[in-house]
Each structure stands twice: as structure tokens, then as C-alpha cells.
Amino acid sequence: MIDSHQQSESVDSLNLGLFLRTISYREFLTSISLILLLTAIFAVMQFLGFWLNTEYLIIVFLSMPLNHIVYRIEHKRSNNFIGRVIHDLIFIILYLILLFISVKIKGQPFLFDLENIVFNFFLFMVLVGSYEIIVEFVRPVLARRGWQIF
């Protein structure tokens, strides 16, 4: 029983239809709210004089599971692997758009070269893919202990 359940989960993990059937403004709103929350946190840190460098990117990456936690609460089920990757990409694209606008308004350069947007996008895709593969391994461990939150 457990085996067949695990088999169906692994087949479903690449089923894009599961995510696309239920995608709505809520997923975008989750990402936008999270981006604004991060912006506020960074504004507070900036105000307090913290200098962020690579830590900044780590905070952004560590905050991404919040999207999946909210998804699980809203949909009463976990998002599958491909759904999580797409949700992460939506988050990153929205974040890059916001950063791009912010840099253009402030006229100040950012930690990495935003001009090279194509390279950065592919870099993010590789990072997101690797990140979600790790999450995919962590999730069953959490589920077995009854700590599954996304």
C-alpha cells in the first residue's frame, strides 16, 4: 500500500496538470506578499546598517518554502515537484521585475549584474531545480515524522 502510494506520488510529481488546473491569483498574491515582506525586512536591515552580500540571496532562497507552506494550507494538499519549481520561478521572476524597477528608480547597482538578465535567469533556473530536488528528498523525511509543512 505504502509502495503504491509512493509510486503514485513520484508519477504525480511531474504531472504539470495538477498544478495548472488549480493555479489562480492566490499563488501570485502569495509570491507578491512574500516579496514585499522580504523587501520590508531588507529595508529594516538597511536602516539598522547591516551589510548584506551573499547572505541576501540565502535569505531569499530560504524564504521560498513559505510559498509551498501557504499552498498546502490553501489547497489542502502539497504541491508536486513540477508545481513547486514553477511556483518558485513565478516568485523569482516577480522578484527580478521588482528589483529591476527598484534599481532603475534608485539608479544604483545591485549585488549582481541585473543587466545580464538572461544569464541570471538561467542561473536561477539551475539553482531552483537543484533546490527543489533537495526539498523533494527532505519532504518524505518530514512526512514520516509527521512534520510535513509543504
Partner: protein
């Protein structure tokens, strides 16, 4: 199906509110804003702004051009100003080199302020809107130049390019001032362009007269050296020049790059035991032997292109005719 619309909107609104409020506080609207006019060199005390934690750089200077109406002369005048509350520096990164790099950002603004003043003088009678519109166009060009400066010097990392930009910016400012930068020595008749005012010294005894103009910058020295030689002979002059290199420049290695015996035009590059280099062009114009060149100490072997460009520009401005071509 749970809907977290309300909490999400609360988070989003509160975040925007916090970011906006902090941004207002960050602008230090309650702090004293000082717009320092170009003239006296920048000090780190002029950088009172909050550090941008998301910036990868160590310092940032904010400068712009202000247009003011001078009621005594009934004309507008443009001033380059540096704003203290928008200029910042990381405490751990303060250095004279970095301050010098930021100073040249301010100098670029001064160059464009001078262009604006030139335009005002050439177009007297224009309205404030017309001047403002011209100023806006100049500020766009200024921005492009500021970016190019940072890009080519790699934010002060490429020292030779930093030197080249200092030479360029000084030259542009000097060319747009009452002191045009052209120097003619009254004794030797030699004319050359110095990007800013050089110091002068002379040594004379019964045998010889040596006149020396020297401009010392952060990473290089430009020199115009004239030695009186009444009984000129090409071969003995070369021996004399070699002696200068080995005794005064403490040269370890000499490299003759160009030699034309007919007009006596000699270009020599030298290197001393500490890695210091010189590149000089020597010309004889009776009764003076004149040498113009650069001395520098490259940080590494590849960081020399900028210094060579400075030398070429400096040496090409050397001439002996009464009328400048």
C-alpha cells in the same frame, strides 16, 4: 479550500508601509542637508548618508548640478554640488585611494557644470526653462560618463585606467578654465599640455641649466625636463641621457623604442630595481635637450595600457613651434 487572502493583503500592505516609512527616514529629511560646492577636496566627513546594504560597492558619492540666478550679473550660473546625506562609505573601506576615486566622480560633475556655464554665456537671454532643458540633457551625458568611468576603472581596481581617467578628467576641466593647461617655457620655448598646474624647479650652475616641470598624481608623475646643451652632438647626448637614467632614475634596464638621428627624436622606456617604470620622449631644440614623459609604478605587468595612453597623449602635446598646431 482555505483562503488566506486577508492575511496576505495585510502582510503586503504592512510591508509596503514599513518599507516606505523607512525609506523616508533613510532620506534623513530631518538631517541637515549640505550641498558642497566643487572647489575644496572631498573629505570622508562629507559622506554622512546611510550605507546601502544591497550595494556591492564600498562608497557612493552623490553629485549634481544646481542652476542659480545671480542677481548682480542678471545671469544664471551652474554649480557642481556634492550632497552629504546621499553620499556614503563603509567604515572598513575608507582609504585615500577610494576617496580619490569618488573625488573624480565629483570632478566629472564639475566638468559638465563648466559646459553648462559655457552654454549660458553663449546663449544669454534664454529663459530658465531653456537652460533647465539644456542642463537635463547635460546631466544625461554626465551620467553616461560616470558609468563609463566606473566601468573602465572597474571601480578603482584597474589602477592604470584610474590614472588615465584622472588625466582625462583633469584635462577636460583645465581646458574649460581660464588656465587652458598649455604651458610654454619662456627660456626653452617648449610648449606642452599639463592636465593641471605643474610645479617648477630649476638648477643652474656654470656648466649647465636644468629646468623641470613636474605634475605628481596619485599613481604617476608627468615631467617636462629641459637641459641646456650648447655643443650638441647626438652620440654624446645619448651618453648623457643614459647617465641621467642610471644616476637620477636609478634605472636597471633601458629600452630604446624609437630613435631618429636626423631630428634627434629618441623614445626610451626604463625600469628600476623596484619595478618603477618611465617612458620618455627626448627632442633636441637648440640649445635645449627636452624630455617629456611619465613615471609610474604598475601594480602588475598588465596594468600599463592606461599609463602608455597617458604618455602618448602627453608626448604628442609637446612641440617647439611658436604657433600651436
Amino acid at each position: 479550500m482555505a483562503n488566506l487572502l486577508k492575511p496576505k493583503l495585510i502582510v503586503a500592505t504592512a510591508s509596503i508601509g514599513i518599507a516606505f516609512a523607512l525609506s523616508l527616514m533613510d532620506k534623513k529629511f530631518y538631517d541637515s542637508h549640505i550641498a558642497k560646492r566643487w572647489g575644496s577636496p572631498l573629505q570622508w566627513s562629507d559622506f554622512t548618508g546611510k550605507i546601502d546594504p544591497l550595494s556591492k560597492y564600498d562608497a557612493s558619492v552623490s553629485s549634481t548640478i544646481q542652476l542659480e540666478f545671480d542677481s548682480s550679473s542678471s545671469t544664471y550660473k551652474a554649480y557642481a554640488v556634492q550632497k552629504n546625506v546621499y553620499s556614503w562609505v563603509r567604515e572598513s573601506s575608507r582609504s585615500d585611494d577610494l576617496l580619490n576615486h569618488e573625488q573624480y566622480h565629483f570632478n566629472i560633475t564639475e566638468y559638465f557644470a563648466r559646459l553648462m556655464n559655457k552654454h549660458i554665456l553663449d546663449s544669454l537671454g534664454q529663459s530658465q526653462e531653456q537652460f533647465q532643458s539644456k542642463l537635463n540633457r547635460l546631466l544625461i551625458s554626465e551620467n553616461v560618463m560616470q558609468s563609463k568611468y566606473d566601468e573602465q576603472t572597474k571601480h578603482n581596481k584597474h589602477r592604470d585606467q584610474q590614472g588615465l581617467w584622472e588625466y582625462k578628467i583633469d584635462s577636460l576641466i583645465t581646458s574649460n578654465s581660464t588656465d587652458s593647461g598649455w604651458l610654454t617655457d619662456p627660456f626653452t620655448g617648449v610648449t606642452i599640455f599639463f592636465p593641471s598646474k605643474p610645479t617648477f624647479s630649476q638648477r643652474a650652475d656654470s656648466k649647465t641649466i636644468i629646468r623641470l616641470y613636474s605634475l605628481e598624481k596619485n599613481d604617476f608623475i608627468l615631467t617636462l625636463l629641459s637641459i641646456k646643451i650648447s655643443d650638441f652632438n647626438a652620440d654624446s647626448t645619448i651618453a648623457k641621457i643614459s647617465k641621467i637614467y642610471y644616476s637620477s632614475f636609478e634605472a636597471k634596464k633601458l629600452n630604446v623604442i624609437q630613435y631618429n638621428k636626423e631630428i634627434f627624436k629618441l623614445r626610451i622606456a626604463s625600469e628600476d630595481s623596484l619595478g618603477g617604470r618611465t617612458d620618455f620622449i627626448w627632442r633636441y631644440n637648440y640649445p635645449y635637450l627636452n624630455g617629456a614623459g611619465i613615471s609610474y609604478h604598475p601594480y602588475n605587468d598588465t596594468d600599463t595600457i592606461g599609463y602608455t595612453s597617458i604618455f602618448n597623449s602627453f608626448a604628442n602635446s609637446l612641440y617647439f613651434d611658436k604657433v600651436r598646431k
